[in-house]
């Protein structure tokens, strides 16, 4: 039982976080709360990718120890044990995803400030009511 829980626990966390983020994006009325939900959902997807890249059994950070330049310059071709380094590819992709997510958050916050300047509120229902009364 413990074995089963531990073997899938990160994926369960990912599912719960996606649920929380989706609920905040749909169910909450405040626009900042919706953005917080979007951030939580993005982090959940990144957690999923990094969990796929993890390796048990003594695997460490994907950085080579020792004298790297000497090994390169003199053509010494060491046999590198693949099982001793975690999978680096998901890390690279998620590095890009984090930076892009902060860019989308910045543009969304700028749009949110613009909405507040025009309607003087951040509540979705009140904004829709003002728009309906204005006949838009």
């Amino acid at each position: 039982m413990l074995e089963y829980v531990v073997s899938k626990f990160n994926f369960w966390t990912y599912v719960i976080l996606v649920g929380i983020g989706l609920y905040a994006m749909i169910g909450k009325k405040n626009l900042v709360k919706k953005l917080i939900g979007m951030n939580i959902m993005q982090s959940a997807v990144i957690l999923f990718y990094v969990s796929i890249g993890a390796k048990k059994g003594g695997a460490t950070v994907p950085i080579f120890m020792g004298d790297a330049h000497a090994a390169h310059g003199h053509g010494i071709h060491e046999i590198i044990d693949v099982a001793s380094y975690v999978n680096p590819l998901p890390h690279v992709l998620m590095l890009t995803a984090i930076v892009v997510s902060i860019a989308t958050t910045g543009v969304a916050l700028a749009a949110l400030i613009l909405i507040f300047r025009r309607y003087k509120t951040l509540n979705e229902d009140e904004i829709l009511k003002i728009r309906r009364e204005a006949g838009v």
């Binding site: 073997s7 680096p88 590095l95 890009t96 700028a110």
Partner: protein, 94 residues
């Protein structure tokens, strides 16, 4: 609205939980993601790029154009923020 949100969350969560059963175990060294292409990157990165950090080697050497496109995305986002938030000058057109 809360009911719609709960229904959507439950349906999405059910699909994701259904998909969890097909995933490999957490930290399995023999999972498909860890045996298909990543061993070649780990073995060849030091010899081909002379960078000890594999993540940096893949980010800046193997996928350099991807990183350049990412920089373009951030630049566009910054320009967008400036254009959205700037104050309109008075007496100039609309």
């Amino acid at each position: 609205m809360k009911a719609i949100a709960l229904i959507a969350v439950l349906m999405t969560g059910g699909l994701l939980i259904y998909s969890i059963e097909g995933l490999p175990d957490w930290g399995d060294p023999d999972s498909p993601a860890s045996t298909h292409v990543s061993p070649e990157y780990i073995q060849d990165a030091l010899e081909k790029t002379a960078t000890p950090n594999i993540v940096t080697a893949v980010l800046a050497d193997y996928r350099g154009y991807d990183t350049m496109g990412e920089t373009a995305v951030i630049f566009t986002a910054g320009i967008g923020c400036v254009l959205i938030l700037r104050k309109k000058r008075k007496g100039k057109g609309d």
